[in-house]
Symmetry: C2
Subunit: 374 residues, 2 copies
């Protein structure tokens, strides 16, 4: 099989085992580890592709479930694929819709064939199968696409997860057989918190030879140590020369702990979602811009930040835009939060190459750790 | 008195008498006639200053009434004025709030002293006087500010308008006396549709020697021919060497007819407001982007448009963003509508210099006239 993407590992951090590398795609090369901004409906809310580039975003994610509903994959295909449709010429990744089917859709019923559900917009019945989810994603035409999996809730019993993993594996195989075009297809490792199930799932997926592997079933409400355990019991069974993607995990501590555990790719709506609600990252802790104290605070969000927003606007102005419900505020605050997290991941890439990622992680977590609002 | 702004008339169109010139302000020089995008709350909704510059916007307008409520003129003053607050280094004009007091506020009562009203946000009582409106605007610190006037409803009786004009003149004088700083203060010509009242108002204002003159009481529901008449019976009494601003008038036919009648400056929320509702200017008529026909229409809004949106995005993508209620859609469509109208005014400036503005106006109105949705 010809390669649709290629991971070139350039360095393994001697201190932690974290990986630095280059991920070559048909839409350019990005450095990993990388954080992928989420462009649910073929746009990262309020932002243009130029702004994403300026802030150093290398690859973005779009959601298959949402795009299948609006505008529909056929429209995107007619447009020439997602890149042309949304005018983004960098690499794009789509998820399989599995997560949304389990989190957003209504009246879900799972069978061996697939998942029947009513969509959250108008209640129309839809049926996602391992095959048609690949077909939809191929029409969307991202660089990297995902197998259809069952996103097992947490907590779940061993027996439930065992059955689910077997079905996810059968679905992965069916998706792989249906896969036709030049999108790089990833398999998704499930198995809950059970080591033998994660290992079994990973090993069987690896036998099918995917172009990359995702770790699923995380970021669904499990405690932090369980999430880290899920990574720890999955990664060792994945090939070193293929990219590893931790799905939906994007708060700063999870990203850094994921990198330390050998993960290459992350995505999360967190930075943009909280930005739209006026919650801003800063090197001195989280800022809630609606607070009265920022009314006449003419400092940037973060003096140490190099984003467009911090270079040009004050907290007082952003608070004003937020209070007046002006979309420009959401836009400027999204730019800041994304740049803030992208810059920390940039720092991680440098630290890995200098064999000091463990120190870097500790330093960042000490400065911005979750007790500070991340 | 030292000049805060200076109008340099460079050419009078031999065909129409329309004026082309340079308006020098403390924040740069703009060519007139000019259309001013409206930045009500210290931002042109969804857009950055850089985007405004890229589309050729030379001067923008902000609303005193809205800014006095949020964030309050004291905050803006503490920020160093509107330019610094909103990061816009080009010229800015503020209105006096008179129009909003008469259109938005509740429980209004007019006295010789000023207007008492309850604001539209939280019902708090406020009192605008000819003096404090100048003081508020001076704190905001725009390049050009307006006298406080009574915006007479249409229709109104001769006697009502006569009394109102006298009060507007007394208010203009009081505002002029209160005016202290380097903002250029304009007087506002009222007088409804009555020639002798307009003439009287204009002549008395000119005696007070303002740095520019606005024509008010238009764009408040009067028929088009009445609006044009109001211009016709005001302009002849205004000095040739001072800028003339037709307040709140911004649809294409009004702008062109205003230019033909010797007006230099226009503003209107129309292009941005309708853009946010998916209504787009084009050289083949108005486009309502929500229509199903644009679902798979991969043309730009207007093939002849040089705006960022038309160079990069299709109708199908914009329709998708509109239907999905994505703010990026409002942003891209605002860019287009503003650029469309700014480009037509650019064309007007060239036509004036080439003594063919009458032909240009007729051609534009034939192509995009109001029967085509403008």
């Amino acid at each position: 099989m010809s390669e649709n993407i290629r991971l070139e590992i350039k360095h393994i951090c001697k201190q932690t085992g974290a990986r630095y590398g280059l991920l070559h795609t048909k839409h350019g090369t990005v450095e990993v580890p990388i954080f992928m901004p989420v462009g649910t409906l073929a746009n990262v809310k309020t932002l243009t592709p130029e702004e994403l580039k300026e802030m150093g975003a290398g690859i973005i994610l779009a959601n298959t479930y949402h795009l299948a509903l609006r505008p529909g994959e056929d429209i995107v295909q007619k447009a020439g694929g997602l890149h042309k449709f949304m005018n983004y010429d960098g690499p794009i990744l789509t998820d399989s819709g599995g997560f949304q089917v389990f989190s957003l859709a209504k009246m879900r019923s799972i069978s061996e064939e697939g998942v029947k559900f009513r969509n959250h917009l108008n209640g129309d019945e839809l049926f996602f199968t391992p095959e048609n989810v690949i077909e939809i994603q191929e029409k969307l035409g991202a660089d990297i696409i995902m197998s259809f999996d069952e996103c097992v809730p947490y907590p779940a019993t061993y027996d439930y997860v065992k059955d689910s993993v077997e079905r996810t594996l059968r679905w992965a195989k069916r998706g792989k057989d249906a896969h036709k075009n030049e999108c790089a297809l990833f398999g998704i490792v499930q198995g809950g918190e059970f080591e033998d199930l994660r290992r079994h799932c990973a090993e069987e997926l690896v036998k099918m030879d995917f172009e990359g592997y995702s770790i699923g079933g995380t970021s669904i409400g499990e405690p932090k140590d369980v999430c880290f355990k899920m990574i720890d019991i999955s990664v060792p069974y994945l090939p070193k020369d293929k990219p590893r993607y931790l799905m939906g995990v994007g708060s700063l501590d999870y990203i850094l702990e994921g990198i330390a555990r050998g993960i290459d790719m992350f995505d999360c709506v967190l930075p943009t979602r909280i930005a739209r609600h006026g919650s801003l990252f800063s090197s001195t802790g989280r800022i809630n811009i609606r607070r009265a104290e920022y009314k006449d605070d003419f400092m940037p969000i973060d003096e140490n930040c190099d984003c467009y927003t911090c270079k040009n606007y004050t907290r007082a102005y952003l608070r004003h835009l937020y209070v007046a419900n002006e979309a420009l505020g959401q836009r400027l605050m999204s730019i800041h939060n994304l740049r803030f997290i992208l810059k920390i991941v940039e720092g991680a890439r440098i630290a890995i190459q200098e064999d000091r990622f463990g120190d870097y992680k500790d330093e960042i977590l000490r400065k911005f750790g979750d007790d500070r609002g991340f």
